[in-house]
Symmetry: C2
Subunit: 335 residues, 2 copies
């Protein structure tokens, strides 16, 4: 009987010790060690966009959500319903008032949200920008497409399609910086790397399908030997496709477009558009949350925290471009 | 006695159930959910450099190790002892032969390692590049300083020091691309944003202290009103500092240098060099490991895996620059 009591006591203390050990480990170890990178489900990170109903944001939000699952934290999606700066400022103010753990923002224009972003940061809420930046703000990082590089990739793709020879044109949106950068990357690469190719025309399609179609008709008349057209945005790309199809020049002219809206993907599937450039939108959302998580948990260089310097995170993350062609277009419809 | 045996049995089974539960959870949940981002200690990620003994790598390795702790995986450090391409190829071949989980490589030159990198990737070992890239290789990502942006930041810092007026010069290393980019970023920014400042001279210091000192003497003679010098690399910066001190011009000429070797930091502390640009080396190592971990565990966009496209990760991560001045120099000595 006494012996049993001793066994009983030993077993009980072993059990208690075990329980203690497991829980001790779980509650006192920082996320920094032993537990992997994981947060609390009470942490609430918010993604804020403009024209929040647009299909374009779906994949970024999916990336944001996937990262939240991986890190065991919560996310919310907010945005201005319209393409309207004042509305986005109001939405951002409302989000800040609720004191979220962090904010990933796509800014409707480069300057208009700067004060509101800085307000969030000054009150201790980490902010990163994705897709469209606000370079003068105090946001910690920008995650988006390098538009110049995207133009470079479009040029290489065009060179492959045309076996490195022939006249090409660009239909772009001249007023917008990102389209200027795409055009410059394309032109520079053709000029410097493909001596048997020429960029014979760069025209403004104004981001409009009908206008781009009209301009394409004009170019085809002016340059009957035209072998390729790069459309730097999606509406223009569809217009270009329509014009080339209408003039029955699909066998003569290769088209490269941008983004993966339904109209563009359908033309890729039909072989009207040879390739389109898909932006790394999932990456934008995924790495935005990973970045905010690191800021919140101060998982940055010990040095940086100590000196309160300004660059705890990578300043810029180029989220990359994927070339979509007939071969892989199917999986993009699902998005 | 019977009663005690029953308690004993109940307790034992509760204990077993508890143990089962805890371990079951730990071994079957994927890293993707519930456990946070964490790997196995048997995963072995290797950092490979050249001139592996250099102080410069310490902070990158620290970042690599810090990320390994956070993710519960193992790391190793390897490198060529000399500044020698053949030796680095040999080291990389040896690392590949051991089939590590992933490799973070800083390439001694942009082309020489391309075949070996591709060999690793073709055999299924993920590779990312940090600090010095190999743009034609199949490596998934490059993490390093944007040298053009660094030059831009140096220009803004110089403008602050000189209250936006005066003549400035650049001592650089004309043969190297990264130094050309730093110089262009500096010059362009001064020209475009500071109408009362002029870049009067850009000279080659050949990455050498004595040569840079000599060139600085010449510039000071030629431009007696010189108000600032930007040295785009560390040896040159120390040479510039020596020349300016020797001619007792420390009150007239502000110096901005690059990197944080001991000689540079000492001159910052003494006030000879007003500011130096610290590269985000910890970030390079930390985010290299985070990237390799994501590749190994296929924690990338589901879409990308399905279509076997080429950009599962951000293509380029700008690891940022921190301005080091007298105020925060202390903490950099510790590194």
């Amino acid at each position: 009987m006494k012996k049993l009591l001793v066994i009983y006591a030993v077993l009980l203390s072993a059990f208690m010790f075990y329980v203690y050990q497991v829980h001790f480990k779980e509650t006192t170890a920082s996320p920094w060690e032993m537990r992997g990178l994981q947060g609390e489900i009470t942490e609430n990170y918010v993604m804020v966009t403009f024209q929040s109903g647009m299909d374009y944001w779906k994949s970024s939000l999916k990336g944001f959500e996937d990262a939240a699952k991986a890190l065991n934290v919560s996310v919310e999606y907010r945005g201005a319903a319209q393409y309207d700066l004042e509305e986005q400022i109001t939405v951002l103010e409302q989000v800040i008032a609720k004191r979220p753990t962090g904010i990933a923002l796509s800014a409707i224009d480069p300057d208009g949200l700067t004060d509101t972003i800085n307000k969030a940061i000054n009150s201790g809420i980490p902010v990163v920008l994705f897709d469209s930046g606000a370079p003068e703000s105090k946001a910690y990082s920008f995650l988006g497409t390098n538009n110049y590089s995207a133009g470079v990739q479009a040029a290489h793709e065009m060179a492959i399609l045309l076996e490195e020879k022939g006249d090409v044109a660009v239909i772009t949106h001249l007023n917008q910086l990102n389209h200027q950068e795409r055009t410059t990357g394309f032109e520079t690469t053709i000029q410097e790397e493909y001596p048997n190719m020429n960029v014979v025309a760069v025209r403004d399609g104004q981001g409009d399908r009908l206008h781009s179609r009209q301009v394409t008709h004009e170019i085809m008349e002016q340059y009957p030997n035209l072998a390729g057209i790069f459309a730097s945005e999606a509406n223009g790309g569809v217009g270009v496709g329509e014009a080339v199809r209408l003039e029955k020049k699909l066998d003569d002219i290769r088209i490269i477009s941008f983004d993966t809206d339904k109209g563009t993907l359908e033309m890729v599937e039909e072989g009207i558009i040879s390739a389109t450039l898909a932006q790394g939108t999932w990456n934008m959302g995924y790495w935005s949350l990973i970045s905010l998580f690191h800021l919140h948990h101060e998982l940055t260089e010990p040095q940086v925290l100590k000196t309160r310097d300004l660059a705890p995170l990578p300043l810029y993350v180029d989220t990359g471009i994927t070339i979509v062609t007939k071969e892989n277009v199917e999986s993009y419809f699902a998005k």
